[in-house]
Assembly symmetry: C2
Homo-oligomer: 342 residues x 2
DNA sequence: TTGTAGGCGTTATCAG
DNA sequence: CTGATAACGCCTACAA
């Protein structure tokens, strides 16, 4: 006994396929009465639409583009890989994917890229970029042209993007803070905070969350002003070295942006005290190995696989103007220790 | 410019649709030469098969069954709900799902249920049950009949199930252990371990992982023998009360099975010291609220949504005899604190 | 060994 | 307002 189809509805309601299709898709040109009759039949025989057959017949293809920054560090390549893997899976059914890289912090190029995509008649774009006035304008244009827009990793709150896919960075900072405080276990001392210029907003939010928790729950611990690495290996190495030299009472390090590779190497070279607590963001090859080796105590992660698949689902839902299941699209703040790394 | 189809291949190779289909599906009855020609055409025009159209034409439907225990606690209902939600989503395309409940720890009923499913010609089953000799036998029968079998939540390692979907419980215990030890921050005292008879293997593994970490990394902390709650609210209440009375120096509580609701209520009634560290398994309404209120310090979780979707994907892959992407199917051990709860 | 024709469940076009 | 009828991309008798 197979599932009822439109043909079954048509028979049951005594109308034609076309009419059934009209009421199924809420198209005009059907009498109230007929609509009633069809809906009753649908109800009665328990019809549920075969979406894949519908998509096949509709011959609809989705064209989505992802705009990613050529940022330093391993995170963006991992995200890109996750996207490519998602593209290979069946999630991507009937959709064409374009992934373009743009230099970070260059509003001009980003906007140019988006304009081109818009001219090409793209259905939706996912943007991983800091918010700038020109980007805001271009997003407004995109929306006017009916393009679905989602912000990736770093939100664009002052634009009319349809959705943000990424973690709550304030909460992520709080999570790092509470881990730092509890792992220190009453020890006193200073905390080094290492930041980077990429993703200014996300870094600021993480710092905010971190500071809030430290001030409220662990007042005995001093959080030093952020050290700015400017995403440059040499700079990072220099400023962190200096700080390590200067602060004999260092209790912990919180790295909230890129530059983990350098930090980890430095800690391994200089030897790190057992009591030092080091927490970083994003699970990559570097941070994974550092967890295994004990150089890092915890990593706060956002799962790139989930992000990629969620972005695809949301873009599709938005271009079809249907609702998303927000519970499913929520990106969790993952806590990764050596023990739950696998 | 739309994607190339079988028709395009046929044209390009100068053969008919049927022949293209035969080589596409590796069916016999085609000359080597022709196969060559078709494959070259496929390569040349960059064909990629439309799986949904193929499934539509094939009219293949998958019939899977989930056998879940009527276990106490909130976890199984949550898993069931996740399954039902997955069933509503498009993951379940072309598949019929049956979810049956069986009394826990009753091998007879479980086996009967599986036999019935086998007689009905089911394609695959997911089983959440302790391993017993009779279950082992029935799984062997299922496999002989070509039914895909996956173990859910609790592995069935001495059977020839195709796959296990759930967390590594030893690692989960280790994760709980390291959190316990670090959150205690050098404090001394005793740890209460609360267990339940459900899922004997999983509980034993968690305990093992926990003990290993505590012994190796936190030798100053005494881990008491497991308290057995027998999944009975009154018993749990009694044994935990007694233990709390007896151990004035209690530093932490690790609840590794069901019974979190009772434990949480008890702690709230009696008032819990700020320094006490309480860790439990599975994120449910109870444990979520307890995290928010500070009654629980951490929850070790396995995501029921991921488990449900993974089970479905694996069952389908196994019945079609195709490979799974094991990275995607790995169920993570989640650490949930108040800060990353949302 | 190969080809033709019809069908899977849905949508779209064009008459009536 | 309603109904035939032909797609969509693929598979599968059945025929040649």
């Amino acid at each position: 006994m197979s599932r009822p189809t439109v043909t079954d509805i048509a028979k049951a309601a005594g109308v034609s396929l076309a009419t059934v299709d009209r009421v199924l898709n809420a198209r005009p040109g059907v009498r109230r009465q007929t609509i009633q009759r069809v809906n009753e039949a649908i109800e009665r025989i328990g019809y549920v639409r075969d979406v894949t057959a519908a998509n096949l017949a509709r011959q609809r293809r989705y064209h989505f583009a992802f705009v990613l920054p050529e940022a330093p560090g391993e995170f963006v390549p991992l995200l890109r890989k996750a996207l490519e893997e998602a593209a290979a899976s069946s999630i991507i059914d009937r959709t064409d994917l374009t992934i373009t890289s743009v230099p970070p912090n260059d509003p001009h190029v980003i906007v140019k890229t988006l304009q081109r995509l818009r001219a090409d008649g793209i259905d939706g774009v996912a943007i991983f970029s800091p918010e700038t006035p020109r980007l805001r304008d271009e997003i407004a244009h995109l929306k006017e042209s009916g393009v679905a827009v989602v912000a990736l990793i770093s939100d664009l709150p002052n634009t009319n993007r349809d959705h943000f896919i990424g973690i709550d960075n304030i909460a992520a900072g709080r999570t790092a803070g509470v881990l730092m405080g509890r792992f220190l276990g009453g020890a006193s001392g200073a905390i080094l905070v290492l930041t980077s210029s990429m993703q200014g907003r996300a870094n600021a939010e993480r710092r905010l969350g971190f500071d809030t928790v430290m001030a409220r729950q662990f007042p005995g611990i001093e959080v030093l002003p952020s050290l700015e690495g400017h995403d440059d290996p040499d700079t990072i190495r220099r400023v962190v070295s200096n700080a390590l030299d200067r602060h004999g009472d260092l209790a912990g390090i919180y790295s909230l942006g890129t530059g983990n590779g350098v930090l980890i190497n430095l800690l391994k070279e200089r030897g790190r005290p057992d009591t030092l607590v080091v927490i970083a963001h994003e699970l990559t090859h570097n941070t994974r190995r550092a967890l295994e080796e004990g150089t890092l105590d915890a990593v706060i992660n956002q799962n790139v696989g989930h992000i990629a698949r969620s972005a695809l689902r949301v873009l599709r839902a938005k271009t079809d103007d249907i609702d998303i299941l927000s519970a499913q699209e929520h990106i969790r703040i993952e806590i990764v220790l050596r023990e739950n790394l696998y």
